[in-house]
């Protein structure tokens, strides 16, 4: 077994993702099956292989840089428009620290 229910609960805490007990049981089984499959990666020899983090092709080193020019942002009214709760130009969230 690659992953236990306890580990599933630990990972869900890391991800800030509330799971029901039923989901914990289901994901333990699903993730276990996937991780067993993924374990095949160990079979392939990758010594002397550089990890590939992104797609690269021939280009100037500065090809992806744009001029550092000022340009207008969204503005707070538009940026806040989809917030579930906002006020005075800010996002509002539950109280974090008691005064």
């Amino acid at each position: 077994m690659k992953i236990t229910e306890e580990e599933v609960r630990y990972v869900s805490d890391l991800a800030n993702l509330k799971l029901t007990e039923e989901e914990v049981r289901k994901f333990q089984a699903d993730l276990d099956e996937i991780l067993v499959h993924v374990d095949r990666l160990k079979e392939i020899d990758t010594s002397n292989v550089e990890p590939m983090a992104q797609v690269l092709y021939q280009a100037e080193e500065t090809a992806t840089l744009r001029p550092d020019r000022e340009r207008p942002g969204l503005g707070s009214k538009l940026a806040l428009a989809n917030a579930p709760l906002s006020g005075s130009g800010y996002f509002k969230v539950p109280e974090v620290i008691k005064r």
Partner: protein, 480 residues
Amino acid sequence: MDIPSLTIDQVRDGLRTRQFSSVELTSAALKFAREENPKTNAYLTFAEDRALEAAKSVDEKLARGEDPGPLAGVPVAVKDVIVTKGLRTTCGSRLLANFIPPYDATAIQRLEAAGGVILGKTNCDEFAMGSSNENSAFGPVRNPHALDRVPGGSSGGSAAAVAQGTAVVALGSDTGGSIRQPASFCGVVGVTPTYGRVSRYGLTAFASSLDHIGPLGRSVRDAALLLRVIAGRDPLDSTSAEAPVPDYLAHLNGDVKGLKLGLPREYLKDLTSETGNLIAGAVEKLKELGCEVRDISLPATDYAIDCYYVIATAEASSNLARYDGVRYTFRSSFSGTLSDMYRNTRGEGFGAECKRRIMLGTYVLSSGYYDAYYLKAQKVRALIARDFTKAFSEVDAIVAPVSPFPAFKIGEKIDDPMAMYLSDIYTITGDLAGIPCMSVPCGTTAEGLPVGMQILTRHFDETRMFRLADAFERAGGANG
């Protein structure tokens, strides 16, 4: 005008010869799409006002004798993971059911500047995670060729709309096969361009090193034209490439004599017999057209699915962290503390597949597992890319199946995530390497289910890919 079979050329000719105005065409297309949509659930939102306004502007330009643009008046459907200013963009998620984006994606700006008319936004798997469109919070899409079957995913709504005729062309997105697999299942053309060819600005992020926007159409010509319009460097996406965008249509001359094609043996192993026969038939057709087909090997293919599900979920777990109840419309009513707000918003908002991938991605990135999973997968990714580089030193293009099987029944694989992931076994390699690849129809099974052939070429060599696909299509492709 016959709405469901319209081509971009027919729209252009119809407008030029005053057979119809852009407003007339748009009204008729919207009416048809609204009537037909209940059969498939392909559209989630119709953009009546925006479409008619765009059409009016095309008519005004025509009246003034101005060039209305290469996509003038063309009815387009847009996958609902691509943001549209002022037009609801849900990503197929309950979390974003009421999200109204404050800006347009670059691809949207370009397609509207070219005269394209956006009819609406199409259904998809939640945050583009899925291979069947069953992971949408707004119900599955049904395949127009067999309503009890999936259209493929995650761009299932876009593929279904084009197949059904409720749009002439559509935009989709592809991270592991999400354009090509539904194109194959729905019998349309679907293109995943070179990584960096089309700006990702405004494409809701799933796995940033793998995400692409690409076109779907009923012909190679239409898909190629739409790509030309949306492609090219964009300062707002630092991974978009500076490479010049050729006039693809000028290269669709049918001449593929002497083209060297590779048929990778690793892609032929687990096909259903009908898919195998249709691919074999397509290869024969390509030989008749004068191509030289040889057996090649891409040995790292066998590990691609494992490599992909580590990298894609790791990136997704980071990208989806932003849906926390602060900025994006949905917040759980159980948000007494900050921590409760995060946990309950995400627990209530995300569907099962997103949760599964967030969990897997968080696990593989967590302390103690990073080297064994994420770093290892990035090295295997380099080997997969190297296989292609080596193959392209011997052949001009690679041909392969898109999916091992045709469209499956709704509900058939939804409880078995690993079986679902294996739908993408032959499409994820192209995304991992970042090379252009596409699906072009190559026939139907005895039951009438479409099957697609995949064509893959070198980075930025969409031109050759389109020329081969177009020659195949002209030679009868699916029916020849």
